[in-house]
C-alpha cells in the first residue's frame, strides 16, 4: 500500500460572481520514499494540490490520506490542521522568518513542538551541517544570498524528520548554474534521508531530472502519471507530448487517406506511408490525426530519397554540441536537432521523418494546435 493516497479530489474557489474549479477528480498515490513531481503550466492547479496536501486549504470533495490517517475528507468531515500532519514545506519565496537568525529559523519548528533545548541544538547543527550552513548560523536571512536562504528553508523543513516533504517551485528564484547544482544536491539529500517528497514545478527539465515519477497536470486535471521515461516515450495525448521535451515535439495535422490497407499522407508531393505500429492506433473512422515526431527523430539527408521532404530553413540555434534547426514546408513549421549538418538560413534541405519513433494522437475537439 502506498504512503500518500489522494482519491477523487476536487477544489473549487468561489469569487464574488462565479465559481472557479481549480482541481477536479485528482486520483494519485505516492509510494514511500518516492520523489514525486507535480508538473504543469502556470495555473494548472499544482500549487493548490500541494496546499491541499499540506492542509492549508480544505478540499471541496474527495479524500487525502497518509498511511492509515485520513488528512482531509469532505464526506467524513475530517480536516487535520497542518500543524498535526508532520509535513514540512519549502516555499518558492522561502518564507524565512526575517526577525530570527538562521539557527532560530531552523530551530523554530522544534521549539514550537516543545522539544528540549539540548536535543534542539544537536538537531539544528546536524541539519545545518548537512546543508553547509554551519558558518552562517548567526546571520539574519536578510544578510544571506539567495542560495543560502534556499538552503535555510530546506534545513528548516528537514530538521524535524517529517513524514512528507513538500516543495513548491523551490528553485525558480535561483540563477541557472545554482539551480542545476542545487537540483543535484536536493536529489542526493532526498535519497540519503529517504523522505517521501512531493515537488511542484513548471519546469519539465527539473521534473525529468528529479522525479521518480511525474504527474502532469493541465487545467485542474491529471493528464498522465508515470516515470519520466514513460512520459517521454509514451505520451498519452498531444498535451503530454508537447509539454515534455525541449524543443517540443513536432505536431503535424494530417488528413489521412486509407488506401490498400495502408494509411498515408501526401506532403509537398511526396507520398508517405505510416508504419503498421502507428496504423494500429488509428480508428478506422478517423479522417484527421495529429502526427507527433520529436526533433531528434528527424534527420537531414544530403540526397533526396523516396520518402524525403524538402523544407526551407528559417532559423538556427547553435547550442554547441548540437544545433536546433527551424524550417517550414507548405506553411507547416518543423524543428529538428542536427549535430553534423548545419545548413544556412533560407537554404532548402531534404529531411526524413523516423516514423517508427513517431506518435499519433487524436485531434482535440476544441483547440487548434
Amino acid at each position: 500500500m502506498s504512503l500518500l493516497n489522494i482519491v477523487n479530489l476536487s477544489k473549487k474557489f468561489s469569487t464574488i460572481n462565479r465559481q472557479v474549479t481549480a482541481l477536479s477528480s485528482i486520483t494519485l498515490a505516492v509510494e514511500e520514499k518516492e520523489f514525486f513531481v507535480l508538473l504543469g503550466p502556470s495555473g494548472c492547479g499544482k500549487s493548490t494540490l500541494l496546499n491541499l496536501i499540506a492542509g492549508l486549504e480544505q478540499p471541496s470533495g474527495g479524500e487525502i490520506s497518509l498511511g492509515a490517517t485520513i488528512f482531509s475528507s469532505r464526506a467524513k468531515r475530517i480536516h487535520i490542521a497542518p500543524r498535526d500532519r508532520n509535513i514540512a514545506m519549502v516555499f518558492q519565496n522561502y518564507a524565512l522568518y526575517p526577525h530570527m537568525n538562521v539557527a532560530e529559523n531552523i530551530e523554530f519548528p522544534l521549539k514550537i513542538r516543545g522539544i528540549s533545548k539540548d536535543k534542539r541544538v544537536a538537531m539544528v547543527l546536524e541539519a545545518a551541517q548537512m546543508l553547509e550552513l554551519d558558518k552562517v548560523l548567526q546571520a539574519k536571512p536578510g544578510e544571506l544570498s539567495g542560495g543560502q536562504r534556499q538552503r535555510v528553508a530546506i534545513a528548516r523543513a528537514i530538521v524535524r524528520k517529517p513524514s512528507l516533504f513538500l516543495l513548491d517551485e523551490p528553485l525558480s528564484n535561483l540563477d541557472a548554474k545554482l539551480r542545476a547544482s542545487t537540483r543535484n544536491n536536493l536529489k542526493l539529500l532526498q535519497k540519503r534521508l529517504g523522505i517521501t517528497t512531493i515537488y511542484v514545478t513548471h519546469d519539465q527539465v527539473e521534473a525529468m531530472t528529479l522525479g521518480d515519477r511525474i504527474a502532469l497536470l493541465n487545467n485542474g486535471h491529471i493528464e498522465q502519471i508515470g516515470t519520466p521515461q514513460e512520459l517521454y516515450n509514451n505520451p498519452v495525448n498531444h498535451f503530454v507530448a508537447t509539454f515534455i521535451g525541449s524543443p517540443p515535439m513536432n505536431l503535424f495535422t494530417l488528413n489521412v487517406t486509407f488506401n490498400n490497407n495502408q494509411y498515408g499522407f501526401i506532403v509537398n508531393g511526396t507520398k508517405i506511408e505510416l508504419p503498421d505500429s502507428l496504423v494500429k492506433q488509428i480508428k478506422k473512422t478517423t479522417q484527421t490525426i495529429l502526427l507527433g515526431v520529436r526533433p531528434e527523430n528527424i534527420e537531414i539527408k544530403p540526397e533526396p530519397s523516396k520518402d524525403s521532404i524538402e523544407v526551407t530553413v528559417t532559423g538556427i540555434e547553435r547550442l554547441g554540441r548540437e544545433t536546433i534547426i527551424y524550417a517550414v514546408c507548405e506553411s507547416v513549421s518543423v524543428s529538428l536537432i542536427s549535430s553534423n549538418l548545419v545548413p544556412q538560413i533560407g537554404e532548402k534541405v531534404t529531411i526524413v521523418l523516423d516514423l517508427f519513433k513517431a506518435h499519433v494522437f487524436e485531434k482535440p475537439k476544441s483547440d487548434v494546435n
Binding site: 499540506a54 492549508l56 518564507a95 524565512l96 544578510e143
Partner: protein, 274 residues
C-alpha cells in the same frame, strides 16, 4: 543643463518653503521661551531660563502634575489601543468572517464623528460611573478614540506581510495564535512602534475630552493646563506658555528620535527572495 539647474532651484526653493513653514512656529516657540521680554517680536533678545524655572517650581501652576498626567494617560492609551489594534489587524487580514468589510467601514465611520458631538454624552457617562477628573476617565475614551486609527494603520502594515510566512508557521506547528505571537507581531514590530508613537501623540495632544472630563491637577493634562495659564495671572504669561509648550514637545521629539530606527527599518527584510 539649464533644465537641470531650474529643476534643482525649484527643488531647493520648495524644500526651504516647507522647512520654514513647518519649523518657523517651533523656532518662534523655543526662542520666546528663552527670552526675557517675550511679549513682542523684534525687541532685543536676552537669554534667560527664568520661564522654565517658573513653570517647574511655581506650585500654583501645577505644570509637573499636568505633564505627569499627560505622559501616563497617553502612554497607557497608546499601549492598550495598539495591543487591541494589533490583534484586530491580525484577525482582519488573516481570517475570513461574515461582515468583515462592513465592520471595517463601520469602524472608520465611527471615527469620523466630531469629538464635540459625543463629548456631552461622554461627560454624562463618566459622571455616572464616577470617573470625572480621574486618569482612568481619560484613558478609556482616549483608547476608544485612537483605536480606529491604530487599527487602520496596522491593517495596512499587516497586509504587506506575505501570507507565505503564515503558511510556513502553520506547517512548522503553530496555531493561529502562536503564528501571530511568534511570527506576525515580531515581523510587524516597525509598524507596531510607529502606531504606538502615533497613538501616543494623538492622545498627548488631545484637548476637548481633557477639558470636559477633568477639573483640576488630579487628572488635567498639559494642553488644557497650558490654556488655563492665562487665567491665573490676569495677563497672558507668554514666556511661561512657551516654556511649557517647549517642555511638552520634548517627550514627543525624544520618542520619535528613539523609535525612528525601528520605524525606518525594512518591514520584511530577508523574508522573501528580495
Amino acid at each position: 543643463m539649464r533644465e537641470n539647474l531650474l529643476e534643482r532651484m525649484l527643488f531647493y526653493t520648495g524644500l526651504c518653503v516647507t522647512f520654514v513653514f513647518i519649523l518657523a512656529p517651533v523656532t518662534f516657540m523655543i526662542l520666546m521661551s528663552f527670552s526675557k521680554n517675550p511679549d513682542f517680536l523684534g525687541q532685543s533678545f536676552n537669554f534667560t531660563i527664568r520661564h522654565f524655572y517658573e513653570i517647574i517650581y511655581t506650585r500654583s501652576l501645577h505644570f509637573p502634575e499636568y505633564l505627569a498626567n499627560s505622559l501616563i494617560v497617553s502612554s497607557i492609551s497608546a499601549l492598550i489601543s495598539t495591543a487591541i489594534a494589533g490583534m484586530g489587524a491580525y484577525a482582519f487580514t488573516r481570517f475570513n468572517f461574515p461582515g468583515k468589510f462592513i465592520l471595517l467601514v463601520g469602524i472608520l465611520a465611527l471615527s469620523m464623528f466630531p469629538q464635540i458631538s459625543i463629548v456631552g454624552y461622554l461627560f454624562r457617562i463618566m459622571a455616572g460611573v464616577g470617573l470625572i477628573n480621574t486618569r482612568t476617565g481619560l484613558v478609556l475614551p482616549y483608547t476608544a478614540w485612537v483605536l480606529p486609527l491604530s487599527l487602520w494603520i496596522l491593517i495596512s502594515y499587516f497586509l504587506q506581510i506575505p501570507g507565505e510566512l503564515d503558511k510556513a508557521a502553520y506547517i512548522d506547528g503553530c496555531s493561529p495564535l502562536k503564528t501571530m505571537w511568534y511570527v506576525i507581531l515580531p515581523v510587524a514590530s516597525p509598524g507596531l512602534f510607529s502606531t504606538l508613537l502615533l497613538a501616543f501623540i494623538f492622545s498627548f495632544n488631545e484637548f476637548m475630552f481633557a477639558l470636559m472630563l477633568t477639573t483640576d491637577q488630579a487628572a488635567r493634562t498639559v494642553p488644557v493646563g497650558i490654556s488655563l495659564f492665562q487665567g491665573l495671572h490676569g495677563e497672558i504669561p507668554w514666556g511661561s506658555i512657551m516654556a511649557a509648550s517647549t517642555l511638552t514637545t520634548a517627550p514627543v521629539v525624544i520618542l520619535t528620535l528613539v523609535f525612528q530606527r525601528y520605524i525606518i527599518q525594512g518591514l520584511t527584510r530577508g523574508a522573501l527572495k528580495g
